[in-house]
């Protein structure tokens, strides 16, 4: 059979090909593959499948360098989500995904549908979603547009997750002009399943039936995948109708129906219709199963009349799934879907003939030979060359930057840093997220360095966190990539969990630019180094390229989503100081490093210098020592040093919980030789502040692992404030102004934004 044009299809011209994002070479390749000119429908299919978003044509060779295996990894990259075993017959499925471009255009719906998509990736594996995380990057909060984006994105994430009844428990947010025109919105979902219920998205069994389930297909979001693979330029204004609207209520029904369907044993495979909708889900399932597939677009339930095969194949209408059903069991599937007030329609079949065929009734509208439509895409090995400008920035001697006069009082600087939105409390954001539904959240947002969820029926708990300092990656991609993983692992270890595996979302600029591809290759290399050193294989992720605006590329931001396991809930550790008289111990050591710091950026407006060094052996030793001390019951609180350094970490331990603030008396004399600002605000890696009733034991454990450990102070009543002695100099400050700076910075900034945020607040539908 061969595909024929439909009446009314546009003629294939070079301009049309270009509009579909295919280069002349790629078009040649398509003609060779088909042995003829493609139909309009085929051109649409290929433009979606060969988009960066679906094909990874620029990134695949680099991704192959990542470690992906460990005895506990049940499913590595290539499926809807990665899966690891956590013992007791249980497994955890998790994945992160970007929705940057949709969120830049329509923050509320863009972020909401991003959440919806990642949820589907996890529950199609047979897992019950138990937690959501989100990693966000915005420009400066001083800009009205940014405040509008923040308001809309946060509300979109909240409304979707809240309605689904999946707690949003952790995340990370940074603000920097580099993200001004192109915010990053990455959402991560974590689900739990019984190992024996794991299901994959692999079309199998010739004769099996293919069904479309969930919502009907509309004209929304057509070509979203190729949209995600373009720069965000002014032209995008014309592409606005591509925005999709999410319906979390339908998704909640789909979740319940899907889990029931998988439990029924009547389906062979399930895949979310995400980017490039029906096209990519069907082609990917066929490829994984190494089988042929035939789909009849006239049988796909449509929301609007007169939809063409092209539109049906490429629609990105939300809340839909493609299911391969055992032949003869279609009625069971219909019954389950009907119970949940959803549709299920037979739309195709798994066939022996190695072909991907789309028909519209009797007419063949697209037909591709072979079963490798997805991987038979072009592969590029772009040139990589570091930008001279960045080399120069990194080499800059930041120690030569003069202090501002106000810095004579280090508490002035500390207060400034605590009010930097990147460091300040994110409570304004996470109090819009239901973090306690499902009654597993032991540590929610703000309570610890990572979120902790108990696993019912076991003594175990999971720890999860996202992290990435894009400024580090910008100034040194390899080190920055390493630190992203190391910090996420440290955060997870601080709550008492052994870091186990990683999902990642690689947010970069245009890979065709050598300087960007250099960042990409090096950052992924750094991630790989760290994942090997920390024994946290990569089980999946997502690549989001072309994150550029007329202002330039975003900071290269390889967001890490880390999952760790706590064997005994008794070991769960929070970040705040709790008992007067406890010793404060610093694991790791301050250094004379200031480069790439929040201090330089926020206080001096400088983005330069080398990021702090990352010693992966030391990071590993730190985690081991910390976990052993926690397991031995020595550790009362733990908090790592990240943006803002030691002083910010100490202040957070003292006042992060406004209902239970504690003072601290700290002596840093052993490092009196360091410049004060490097000691207090430098971002040396591999450090954790703990409080303990048994400092000697903690220090002994640390020594055994070769980790420097120093008793640096004592927990005091809140009334004592924060008091720091260095040599002969003692400075102190009450907690209230520090707490005010930390807790009120973002609310204050957002209060300046009634005009921009009000419309999304008023407009949104479901809010309960």
């Amino acid at each position: 059979m061969t595909a024929v044009s439909r009446p009314g299809d546009p003629v294939i011209t070079p301009a049309l090909v270009a509009e579909h994002g295919l280069t002349p070479d790629e078009y040649e390749r398509l003609i060779n593959m088909l042995g003829r000119t493609p139909t309009f429908t085929e051109l649409g299919v290929v433009s979606a499948l060969w988009s960066e978003h679906c094909s990874y044509k620029h990134s695949r060779p680099v991704l192959k360098t990542l470690p992906t295996t460990a005895p506990w990894v049940l499913q590595g990259p290539g499926e809807n989500a990665g899966v690891i075993s956590i013992g007791d017959g249980l497994a955890v499925a998790f994945k992160i995904e970007s929705h940057n471009h949709p969120s830049a255009v329509e923050p509320y719906q863009g972020a909401a549908t991003g959440v919806g998509g990642i949820l589907r990736d996890v529950f199609t594996m047979g897992a019950r979603p138990i937690a959501m995380l989100n990693s966000l990057r915005f420009g400066s909060l001083d800009t009205p547009r940014v405040r509008y984006l923040v308001g809309g994105v946060v509300k979109g994430i909240g409304d979707y997750g809240n309605c689904m009844g999946v707690p949003t428990v952790a995340g990370d947010v940074m603000f920097d002009a580099a993200y001004e025109g192109n915010p990053l919105v990455n959402a991560m979902c974590v689900g739990i399943l019984r190992e024996d219920e794991l299901i994959r998205a692999k079309a199998e069994g010739v004769g099996n039936t293919i069904m479309a389930v969930g919502a009907r297909t509309g004209r929304d979001g057509i070509h979203g995948a190729s949209f995600a693979s373009e720069d965000l330029s002014h032209e995008n204004d014309a592409k606005r109708p591509r925005v999709q609207v999410g319906d979390p209520f339908t998704e909640k029904l789909l979740l319940e129906a899907t889990l029931e369907l998988i439990a029924s044993g009547d389906c062979v495979a399930i895949q979310d219709m995400g980017a490039a909708g029906l096209t990519s889900s069907s082609a990917e399932m066929a490829e994984r199963g190494d089988v042929g597939i035939v789909i009849d677009t006239s049988k796909v339930p449509a929301r609007e009349t007169g939809m063409t095969p092209y539109e049906i194949l490429l629609s990105e209408s939300q809340e839909r799934m493609l299911v391969v059903v055992k032949k003869g069991r279609e009625q069971t599937v219909r019954d389950i879907l009907t119970k949940w007030d959803l549709h299920a329609a037979v739309i195709g079949e798994v066939i022996a003939e190695p072909v991907y065929r789309v028909v519209e009734g009797d007419r063949v509208v697209a037909e591709f030979p072979g079963t490798r439509l997805v991987t038979d895409c072009p592969q590029y090995h772009p040139e990589a060359r570091e930008s001279e400008a960045i080399i120069a920035l990194r080499a800059r001697d930041v120690h030569a930057i003069a202090e501002r006069p106000e810095e004579a009082d280090p508490f002035w600087t500390l207060q400034q840093l605590l009010s930097s939105p990147t460091i300040a409390s994110k409570r304004w954001i996470y109090r819009q997220y239901d973090s306690t539904v499902r009654t597993n959240t032991v540590i929610g947002p703000g309570g610890g360095d990572a979120a902790v969820l108990r696993i019912r029926g076991t003594t175990k708990a999971l720890a999860v966190k996202t992290d990435c300092n894009g400024r580090y990656v910008y100034l040194d991609p390899r080190v920055g990539g390493q630190i992203a993983v190391a910090e996420a692992a440290r955060n997870v270890a601080c709550v008492g969990a052994r870091p186990r595996a990683v999902t990642n979302c690689l947010n970069f600029g245009n890979p065709k630019r050598p300087d960007i591809f250099f960042q990409f290759r090096e950052a992924v290399g750094g991630m790989g180094d760290a994942c090997r050193a920390l024994d946290t294989p990569v089980t999946g992720g997502n690549v989001s390229l072309y994150n550029e605006s007329p202002l330039g590329a975003v900071y290269p931001t390889p967001t890490i989503g880390m999952v760790g396991v706590i064997d005994n809930v008794a070991h769960i550790t929070r970040l705040r100081f709790t008992e007067v008289g406890d010793a404060i111990v610093l694991l790791g050591e301050p250094t004379n490093e200031l480069g790439a710091s929040e201090y330089l950026s926020w206080i001096h407006g400088v983005v330069a210098g080398a990021p702090p060094a990352c010693n992966l052996t030391q990071e590993r030793a730190l985690i081991d020592a910390l976990l052993e001390s926690i397991a031995a019951g020595h550790v009362r609180s733990a908090h790592d040093c990240s943006e803002g350094g030691l002083a910010v970490a100490l202040a957070e331990c003292a006042m992060a919980d406004t209902d239970a603030m504690m003072g601290a008396e700290v002596n840093l004399t052993p490092w009196a030789a360091l410049p004060l600002r490097a000691l207090l605000f430098g971002e040396a890696q591999g450090r954790v502040v703990i409080s303990t009733a048994n400092a000697d034991a903690v220090i002994a454990v640390a020594k055994r692992f070769g980790v420097p450990a120093t008793r640096i102070g004592t927990v005091q009543p809140a009334t004592s404030g924060l008091c720091i002695t260095i040599g002969t100099r003692t400075v102190s400050a009450p907690l209230a102004p520090l707490a005010d700076a930390f807790h009120e910075a973002i609310p204050r900034a957002m209060r300046r934004a009634p005009a921009e945020t009000v419309s999304s607040a008023v407009a949104a539908g479901a809010t309960n």
Partner: protein
Amino acid sequence: MTRYRVAVHIVPRRGLLDPQGKAVADALHTLGFSAVTDVHVGRHIVIESDAADAAAAEASVRAMCDKLLANPVTEDYEIASVRTAEGA
């Protein structure tokens, strides 16, 4: 039977706190629309329905409002328009 398009306004009852209206009014002031003195935000629901005539269409939408569309404790409604749906 003819297809009618009936539009209904559902508005928060006067006297109740209307934070949405207030937020919109404040935002408009911030944007420089200083002549704005008051704002109310309600719902605009358009129902397409088959009925024998306009009066029947309106009566049935009134029944929908009484039963479901408006909350009698906090909202008032009014039928804004009854038209035949074009192309029906």
